[in-house]
């Protein structure tokens, strides 16, 4: 695939100034007013641009540059609000002025007139997903049609910056983390950047800056971001396995019902085993092996079923959660790991932030599954970007579950990027010796 025309550039470190973080929403007020005014002009410009592109097959250069600046400015402002970037952004949306930036086509591009004519209809799936991940142009223009003035928000939920459930949750959690540590956790930063990057693609597509449909693939959006270390709980599978059987796609929900019933029955036993496991781990500092293996099988099976249900994977899964039996599989620690008793004791409290992120990921998964259903029915294959978004959401949920049920002590990592294998370091105890 050729280079994406809309590329997010992330050059920021994780350091955050506690004072500006604390007052971030207030500090952003001038920007929000400015963005509001800019959006009104951009809406008019977008309509003119649409007509001009329909006639000439290419947007006029002046309008193209103006809308590029608008999209770039929205990225800067979103990054500032969502704590993805630290410095206060400028008001002009200039290229290269902010550490979280977006590269857009320098010149107006030739566009298909049919796609231009239907652009707003074609953009609906992208707007939906963008609304969940990091906001879209619909969110930006939403206030123009919101005569009652209710439901406006400055940071989330379809307000001036375009909403975005996942980025909003990450910003909310990141706010506390930044205040406590002065650093934005990488996972939350990456997830926020991912949402903003996707929203920028949606805006660029809707405003006719590019003809290329937005792509939700995390590795494409976060190409300039370093991958995190590999989490002990991760998914494996061939990302290029995109073929889908139309028949099983059409009947996906009824076909999954026997699995869901079985999962439901199994979950009762898992709840009991989970409680026993918690007590056992508190006492011995390590989960008993039979419990560990039983829970691993359950969560592996859960991933298989959800992957099948959401069309993240194609084949009908087995009923036992056997490792290696499904093309999108979950890797879990083979043996029970030693766990901190304190963290075990407070596990249900500690997991709350992860649950919040998981909620955002679950909504994204749901929307992506619906879009994939239609796409797979039409084309017989799953869109590459959506497949990888779903794999991310499933992975994060699996990591959260594994953390809650003490299969690992490692906190779920919110970064949409797949973890990278790091060289094995000696255990701290050994190196001290």
């Amino acid at each position: 695939m050729s280079e994406p025309p809309v590329r997010l550039v992330v050059e920021d470190d994780f350091r955050r100034n506690r004072v500006t973080v604390f007052f971030r929403l207030l500090l952003a007020i001038p920007h929000l007013i400015w963005f509001f005014l800019w959006t009104i002009v951009a809406a008019v410009a977008a309509i003119v641009n649409w007509f001009a592109t329909l006639i000439a097959g290419r947007p006029p250069r002046g309008l193209h540059n103006f809308l590029c600046s608008y999209v770039r400015y929205s990225v800067h402002l979103s990054a500032y609000l969502y704590l993805v970037g630290n410095p206060y952004p400028g008001f002009l949306g200039e290229e290269g002025e902010y550490p979280i930036d977006v590269e857009l086509p320098g010149e107006p591009q030739l566009q298909s007139r049919w796609k231009t004519l239907l652009r707003i209809v074609l953009a609906i799936p992208a707007l939906l997903i963008g609304g969940v991940l990091g906001g879209g142009v619909g969110g930006s223009f939403g206030f123009l049609f919101n005569r009652g003035g209710r439901g406006r928000s400055t940071s989330n939920g379809g307000g001036f910056t375009g909403g975005g459930l996942l980025a909003g949750i990450c910003a909310f959690l990141g706010w506390f983390a930044c205040l406590a540590t002065g650093q934005m956790p990488k996972g939350l930063r990456d997830a926020g950047a991912y949402g903003i990057g996707y929203a920028a693609q949606v805006r660029a597509y809707t405003l006719l800056l590019t003809d290329r449909y937005p792509n939700t693939d995390p590795t494409t959006i976060l190409a300039s971001v370093a991958r995190p270390p590999r989490h002990p709980v991760h998914v494996v599978g061939d990302a290029h396995d995109l073929r889908r059987s139309r028949l099983t796609v059409f009947f996906r929900i009824p076909l999954a019902i026997p699995h869901l019933v079985w999962l439901y029955v199994w979950s009762y036993v898992v709840a009991v085993v989970g409680i026993l496991n918690w007590f056992a781990t508190l006492v011995t500092g390590r989960p008993p092996r039979p419990f560990h293996r039983f829970l691993c099988a359950y969560f592996r099976y859960q991933l298989h079923v959800y992957a099948f249900l959401t069309i993240a994977a194609n084949p009908f899964p087995g009923f036992t959660g056997r490792a290696g039996s499904y093309p999108l599989d979950l890797v879990l620690p083979a043996e029970p790991q030693r766990q901190s008793r304190w963290r075990t004791f407070f596990r249900l409290v500690l997991v709350i932030p992860a649950w919040l992120v998981s909620l955002g990921a679950a909504v994204a998964l749901f929307i992506a599954a619906i879009c994939t259903w239609f796409a797979a029915l039409a084309t017989g294959s799953a869109p590459w970007g959506l497949r990888n978004l779903m794999a991310y959401a499933l992975r994060y949920q699996a990591q959260t579950n594994a953390y809650v049920y003490l299969l690992t002590d490692a906190y779920p990592h919110a970064s949409p990027l797949e973890g990278e294998e790091t060289p094995q370091l000696p255990e701290p105890g050994l190196s001290a010796a």
């Binding site: 099983t248 009947f251 076909l255 999954a256 019902i257 087995g318």
Partner: protein, 357 residues
């Protein structure tokens, strides 16, 4: 018949039923055609499974019924349209999307059945004789389902002055409940032992049905329980279960037996054909049980007139043909015809008069 039902009702019922029968016939032919093709080519969907042999068999079984559902969808929609033309209830959403979800429930049962049959067939010591242990397992599951179902249905308690008296006369003491969500007047008895219940569909306890008719309906349902019809039905099922399982084992032998996923599409076809072939016999049994329950209701209520009015009203409200053609009677009628039921009330009158001193 004209005097009994009225010429207009009779004409409407006959016309409505005649087209409804065509829909059934069309749906059945399409079902057989689809399953025939699926038995031939269904094996190719094996590659869509990562579930091992048994799971793959389940997938193939479900896909077979899914295709049948899709092929019968036009008939389901046409049936609703036809019902609407005659002022009967029916929902397009239920006939399409609603049934799509109901398909999932059907799949659960299918998966359980296939899991039992295929796992037994894959046991080396059992192999082709899987039908011998499978049939009792199916019967056991049927008993379990019959036992559990009443608790799953819910409903609201039905209070009427005559309930206690009828229960005393029939010597059956069970909860009577009303369930809503249905557009047609109906009732049924279900459950085994302590789970026995009578369920009345809401329309039957509403106008134009009168309390006397409801009393007759309740007596009929209590009659089912008094004569142990649920157990008898299970017994009949058991009698059918062995030969049907044997036929499946026989039919799938050439495809490697029931333990092989590729045999499942054929097994589905054979199962549906056998079920169709067994329909006349099952209907004979069912009609016999229903007639016994009618007789029980007449003995308990001593109100043949209420029964007569009830059956007459059924023709008006549900447009059931009082005197259907022979093939309809053989294949589709699991109750005596309305005419037969009315005749029974008249016979009871003569019988009661002869018995009285």
């Amino acid at each position: 018949m004209n005097a009994l039902f009225g010429a207009r009702t009779l004409h409407r019922a006959e016309h409505y039923s005649s087209v409804s029968r065509l829909f059934w016939l069309g749906g059945t032919i399409v079902q057989l055609l689809v399953l025939g093709l699926y038995a031939r080519y269904g094996e190719r969907w094996t590659r869509e499974s990562a579930a091992g042999p048994v799971g793959t068999g389940m997938l193939l079984g479900m896909l077979g019924f899914a295709l049948v559902w899709a092929a019968q969808l036009p008939f389901a929609v046409l049936s609703v349209w036809w019902r609407h033309r005659y002022g009967l209830s029916g929902s397009y959403a239920q006939a399409t999307v609603g049934n799509w979800f109901a398909l999932g429930a059907q799949f659960v049962v299918l998966c359980v059945a296939l899991a039992i049959a295929m796992n037994l067939a894959r046991v080396r010591r059992i192999g082709a004789r899987w039908w011998l242990p499978a049939a009792p397992v199916f019967v056991g599951l049927t008993i379990l389902l019959a036992f559990v179902t009443p608790w799953l249905l819910g409903g609201k308690p039905f209070h009427a002055a005559y309930v206690a008296r009828l229960e005393r006369v029939e010597d059956v003491h069970v909860p009577v409940r009303v369930i809503s969500g249905f557009g047609e007047p109906n009732a049924f008895a279900t459950g085994l032992g302590i789970s026995r219940r009578v369920f009345l569909w809401k329309p039957i306890v509403e106008r134009p049905f009168t309390p006397r008719m409801d009393r007759f309906v309740l007596a009929h349902e209590l009659g089912h329980l008094a004569h142990n019809h649920i157990w008898k039905s299970v017994g009949w099922y058991a009698l059918f279960a062995f030969p049907i399982a044997f036929l499946l084992a026989l039919a799938t032998r050439r495809r490697g037996g029931m333990g092989v996923p590729a045999a499942v599409p054929l097994a589905v076809l054979v199962y549906v054909v056998v079920q169709l072939a067994a329909l006349p016999l099952r209907n004979v049994v069912s009609r016999h049980l229903e007639a016994e329950a009618d007789w029980s209701a007449l003995r308990a209520t001593h109100d043949p007139r209420a029964g007569r009015e009830l059956f007459r009203l059924f023709a008006v409200e549900t447009l059931e043909d009082p005197n259907p053609p022979w093939w309809d009677y053989v294949f589709l009628e699991n109750h005596p015809t309305l005419l037969q039921r009315i005749e029974m009330t008249r016979y009871w009158e003569r019988y009661a008069a002869a018995q009285s001193p």
